[in-house]
Subunit: 235 residues, 2 copies
């Protein structure tokens, strides 16, 4: 797999993947984080061909395939917080959610195998390389996995605009938590929503109808991981 | 100005701008929110030429120029919360911040006149049309305007990763608040940072170095506008 862009290549070098080659323009090759890394010289046109995208910022790298994690292992810590995505298909949204999950200190992100964005180079780019340090797991059927998670003592929350939802800052988010986000426009599928223990909603005080899913993920993951309630409990 | 995309055109129709023409593909013209709107038929190729972007989702509209607000007026309410952007140049980030500001219930967004993204059609698109209902003001010099805001009794916070910053959920955000965000990668310029009453930081618990500026804006604006502390005070 060819990853491209400054942050994605830098984090791939720092992370667990094998990096077999790095190409850069003369200018980009002088970045301090590339010191000591064998770099092959390439023109912007060659980089665009290698990366399959003009969005390479002068550098790309050949790396081993992305190693997905096991979804159940993400829930092992007693205070695990996992974001689960229900058919989020936009690579930019998946990348942005992974970046926020990594920054907030989530245990990982769970995605479906089908009708969902996977960890492609565009997602690496949109995540600013966060996927190199974050565990991402794939499951065959998200609702089935959520049911398993509940049996493992996780409390499953779904982000939704729904009459039965409580305000996002009302729950006591202690212990193992899974928070599920739906695709923009469509929200959670009914079976996924009905598997959740509790739906939570973020107040919308303006006239437009929804937050972007990655903005919602930022608000909720920081609420869950950094709310004083959780901190007070020493987790 | 030609705005394009479903949400941007829909919100332009609902908002205060004059809409002088709407073009849509046959398929898009059947969207329920276009019922009763005179629509000219256009092919995807014609729409791309009109919009200057392939990202038109089958619909675009000619609208009057964007009407910027007066920055000082944004601070009139006693509980005003204003986001100020220090040289944010990426239209997608400006759009995403405007969307979050509109959803969270901010009084408006202040941007600089120079070296900063303005409210272009790409920003309308990235904001999902939120700019039609949100007040956006331009100022000649951001640090000067922040100094004025302080004289108007606003407390000015700057989002920054800095040793002197306090945790984002520590301040009592009552009263008039301005929260300043810097450009991704560069952060706040020194004179802007030194004009702030207080720097606040969002904890980063992973290995990557920063949140996207729109994710930081989501976390901070919801903390400021919806934290129980502010609600407790009845503002």
């Amino acid at each position: 797999m060819i990853v491209y862009g400054r942050n994605p290549v830098r984090e791939a070098i720092r992370g667990p993947r094998e990096v077999s080659a790095v190409w850069a323009t003369e200018h980009a090759a002088r970045e301090p984080w590339l010191a000591g890394v064998p770099v092959r010289s390439a023109s912007p046109v060659e980089l665009e061909r290698l990366a399959g995208s003009p969005d390479h910022q002068g550098v790309c790298a050949e790396v081993s395939e992305y190693a997905y994690s096991d979804a159940d292992e993400l829930l092992e810590p007693e205070d695990a917080v996992v974001a689960a995505l229900d058919q989020v298909q936009d690579p930019r949204n998946l990348g942005a959610i992974c970046r926020v999950a990594e920054c907030a200190g989530a245990s990982g992100v769970v995605i479906g195998e089908r009708r969902a964005a996977q960890v492609t180079p565009a997602v690496c780019r949109a995540s600013a390389g966060a996927v190199e340090h974050l565990r991402v797991a794939r499951v065959r059927n998200l609702a089935d996995w959520l049911a398993t998670a509940k049996r493992s003592d996780a409390w499953v929350y779904g982000a939704a605009v729904a009459p039965e939802a409580v305000r996002y800052d009302a729950p006591d988010y202690s212990g193992r938590v899974v928070i599920v986000f739906g695709a923009e426009g469509r929200g959670l599928r009914p079976r996924v929503a009905s598997t959740c223990d509790q739906l939570v909603s973020i107040p919308l005080r303006g006239r437009i109808e929804s937050l972007n899913v990655s903005a919602a993920a930022a608000v909720l993951m920081y609420e869950i991981l950094h709310s004083s309630r959780r901190v007070d409990k020493g987790t």
